[in-house]
Symmetry: C2
Subunit: 316 residues, 2 copies
């Protein structure tokens, strides 16, 4: 039983790890990818995605370039300090002969949902601009998409681009707000859980030692990413944002605590801009209620996900 999965991303080093996870996971039918500006611009993200997919033996997966600018403001330059100028830590991948589809990212999402009504699993690990635009093209998208998993936001954990805002949501808060309140069967994999799972230098060395082109390319990208996190953690390592969301999407990790609660996004210009405002007031009673149109918010993912990720990427 394979599950049709569509990926929206901004590749990006941890996006590359997520793509590696999806390619290496049995039962995942990666039907398409759209890119959005975030870690770098949407066109650059598409180039990285095409090249990585070819390196991983999947050159046929269609990749569509999505939104360059955000809903209410322009793209302004990505995160080269985290992901490098080319988005993948200055690693030069062999150029795939494949080109992006001529379809927009938003249209590609709609097309995939219509092709697999009620069955498609949508995974979004960049800003939510493409999905918001897809909602404009197809208001029935929340019913057409079977399940939707996002990397983004923070419930109780601090933000990573402001005191309370996570980068994917902060890049386009209005898009995120529309997506979180559209009625999807939505799971939020935010900083509450992603910050708890860390790839260490020992993992990276083990991945390098695998020796296959895909494993080595990802391990080399991580060298750059580790340099950024070393400033934050005091040691070279990397937080596993996007691959953890991919693993939640493929059902490979245990959501030990993930209440379904109301989530809205602050898209004001105030100090909370870009915050996922997650209503956890039921915590003192153990979350007895499931809210209609709520979001399943991952709060605890126990287990050794870094080890699991290393094992899976080692099969690439």
């Amino acid at each position: 039983m394979s599950v049709p999965l569509f990926l929206d991303c901004d590749t990006g080093i941890d996006d590359a790890m997520a793509i590696g996870w999806l390619v290496a996971t049995p039962g995942v039918d990666l039907v398409g990818v759209s890119t959005v500006s975030g870690n770098l611009d949407a066109a650059g993200g598409a180039r990285n995605t095409l090249d990585l997919l070819a390196l991983l033996g999947r050159p046929e997966v269609p990749v569509s370039v999505g939104a360059h600018d955000f809903l209410d403001h322009p793209y302004s330059g990505g995160a080269p300090e985290v992901h490098g100028v080319n988005g993948i830590g200055e690693v030069e991948l062999p150029r795939s002969p494949a080109a992006p589809t001529g379809t927009s990212g938003a249209q590609a999402i709609v097309d995939a949902a219509r092709a697999h009504p009620g069955e498609l699993h949508l995974l979004a690990i960049g800003p939510f601009t493409n999905v918001a635009l897809a909602l404009d093209l197809e208001p029935r998208l929340p019913e057409l998409v079977g399940r939707f998993t996002v990397m983004g936001g923070a419930a109780m954990a601090p933000g990573n681009v402001s005191a309370v805002a996570e980068a994917n949501v902060a890049n386009d808060p209005l898009a995120a707000h529309r997506v979180f309140t559209a009625g999807f069967d939505l799971t939020m994999v935010g900083l509450d859980v992603t910050m708890e799972h860390v790839f260490e230098e020992s993992h990276r060395q083990a991945l390098l030692a695998v020796g296959t082109p895909g494993a080595v390319a990802i391990a080399r990208m991580l060298g750059h990413y580790f340099g950024f996190y070393a400033q934050r953690y005091g040691r070279p390592c990397a937080v596993l944002h996007d691959p953890l969301a991919a693993a939640v999407a493929t059902g490979d990790v245990d959501l030990a605590l993930a209440p379904t609660v109301p989530v809205v996004v602050d898209h004001t210009d105030g100090p909370g801009r870009g915050q996922t405002v997650v209503d956890l007031r039921d915590r003192y009673q153990g979350y007895p209620r499931t809210y209609e149109n709520g979001t399943r918010v991952a709060l605890e993912v126990p287990g050794d996900f870094a080890g699991q990720l290393l094992a899976r990427l080692s099969t690439l």
Copy 2:
């Protein structure tokens, strides 16, 4: 060595417990009280405060009526469902012959700070309107006040009047923002710690059994308060917001984790209105930095504070 302490409050059942704590604590010189609208209106809060102080043998403490309305919007009715229509759970205290001073709450705060420059301990357990107005009257207030402890806000814990807003801050977010950014030596005792300390029915019965007028009055007020919390916790009990802040002010509890970090208050009209935006991004490195003009944010108060509170109120 007695410490001059000025209390700003909205009495209120847990305010009454805080007043009990202050009266019962050796070394506290309660030099004055101002009231503000919050749990009930400022004038009603002053009446409750005068009557309670008289019952506790302190009829001479000056009580000033402070702001009825908030900085940018009017008072709109308090929290009778939590505190009762009269603010103290419909308990009828003997009427004190003392009347409020003719001074405004804000002026009383300024006067107390000027009378004890650099030594006054200010404790605010209601909305922060009076303190914000006092800053207008005396811009040097942050230097004149020695230490300032507030009950209010939430860093990681959910809010109690919205997903992210605590009631004292939410009542007047603009005032709170001015107070948090004014440069006080400020300690925030918010929902992160107050929600962890609970008075149970056994504590209330023990307090009733003390039999003195003060202990009995507070225990009877708690009957009403317990009824409100029973809906939230599934059992009659009460969270110890204001008395915990009083105990932090008097130095009687251990702030096991209380980093000094930037805090601003969301006073937009967005979904984060009334949130204390606390920057905890240093948590992953164990809070190595102390920020200039930061706020000491109480995140962990271990120990049996409910038992400590019962013991102290039993001396009333």
